[in-house]
């Protein structure tokens, strides 16, 4: 037995479809979807974690001092959302990359 590009691609696309469902996109549109659209949709899932320091005062009752921002960045809610966001994006990007390589193998024949 050797590498089965079609089985690999099936597995990769199943996982991309799973993540597309999570971020509110239709997996049936996978072939016409770009990585930029996937990343953009994923980012909106936890936008609070990419807030700039000047925007954080919404969450710190107007206090945007360094201490307040650091304290906010230690909050469990923030840490949870940040982790979810990072790993959602990582998984989507990794499977997108793997899909490109698997398609390369398929096209190679």
């Amino acid at each position: 037995m050797s590498y089965d590009a079609q089985k690999d691609l099936d597995y990769i696309e199943y996982n991309i479809s799973y993540f597309m469902n999570i971020i509110g996109m239709n997996p049936e549109n996978l072939n016409s979807t770009t990585i930029d659209e996937l990343v953009e949709s994923a980012r909106t899932m936890a936008i609070v974690t990419s807030a700039r320091p000047s925007e954080v005062n919404t969450f710190t009752s107007g206090d945007n001092s360094q201490d307040a921002v650091l304290s906010y960045h230690s909050e469990p809610d923030y840490l949870y959302l940040r982790s979810q966001r990072i790993h959602l994006l990582s998984s989507i990007r990794r499977f997108w990359y793997l899909r490109q390589v698997a398609l390369g193998a398929l096209n190679r024949g």
């Binding site: 590498y3 089965d4 690999d8 230690s74 840490l79 982790s83 990007r93 793997l98 490109q100």
Partner: protein, 238 residues
């Protein structure tokens, strides 16, 4: 760069204390990885930051396959191979499933020669077969698809070596790999430190921590973690 010099000095001392079988030389890594990099370059992969971010799994061949890259001079990458080999040889398995055929050809060959080898289907296997396999002769292995593995429909194995990237997208599937172990079997998972985040505030929310929690929740399992280099977790099925 200062950090790299310091890290290299640290690991050069450790390397001087050790002797192991499959340590890939700097030149071997450079030759193999640059070969893979050259092939990957023909695929016109989208490498924009927005498309790939900084993911060591995606960038590894780029990082270690470029002679001028400071990563290709990082001794810690060689040192990390030693722990995997140590666990494999201590277990001395009859049957093994591995995933890192292209990243570590020497280790793959060691497993091939000392156990009945199975390899996980994926781009690692494709790159290995397409570009690297001919470096050695005498290969004899089965292929297990990820669909089979996640349904625990292969094995049983005495030894399984994975990368966290095989399971981190859905930490629960690590249980299926564990399920494919024989009693007394060992499951080793590399790249488990989440870039150091599993040792920091908020670690409990990392999916890498969740992989460990999944393994710890199994009756009769034991779990160990080596925190050096990339972080390696080792589960034993009692």
């Amino acid at each position: 760069m200062d950090n790299l010099i310091q890290t290299n000095r640290y690991f050069s001392y450790i390397n001087n204390l050790t002797k192991y079988s499959v340590g890939n030389s700097d030149q071997q890594i450079l030759d193999r990885y640059s070969k893979v990099k050259t092939y990957l370059d023909t695929l016109s992969l989208d490498k924009r930051k927005n498309a790939v971010g900084f993911d060591i799994y995606i960038w590894l061949f780029e990082m270690f396959g470029t002679e001028s890259s400071k990563w290709s001079q990082a001794l810690s990458s060689n040192y990390g191979d030693g722990f995997q080999e140590q666990v494999f040889l201590l277990k001395n398995p009859s049957t093994a499933l591995i995933t890192n055929t292209a990243f570590n050809v020497n280790f793959s060959k060691l497993v091939n020669d000392r156990a009945s080898l199975s390899v996980l289907n994926g781009i690692q296997l494709d790159l290995f077969e397409h570009l690297l396999k001919d470096e050695f002769t005498g290969w004899d292995y089965n292929v297990v698809t990820k669909q089979q593995a996640e349904a625990a429909e292969a094995g049983p194995f005495d030894f399984i070596s994975l990368y966290s990237f095989d399971v981190v997208h859905n930490p629960e599937v690590v249980k299926s790999y564990y399920q494919m172990l024989n009693p007394g079997g060992v499951l080793l998972i590399s790249f488990m430190n989440d870039n150091g985040n599993v040792y920091e505030n908020g670690a409990e929310y990392s999916p890498y921590t969740e992989i460990c929690e999944q393994l710890k929740s199994i009756d009769g399992s034991l779990l160990y973690h080596d925190y050096t280099t990339i972080g390696t977790s080792v589960a034993i099925k009692m």
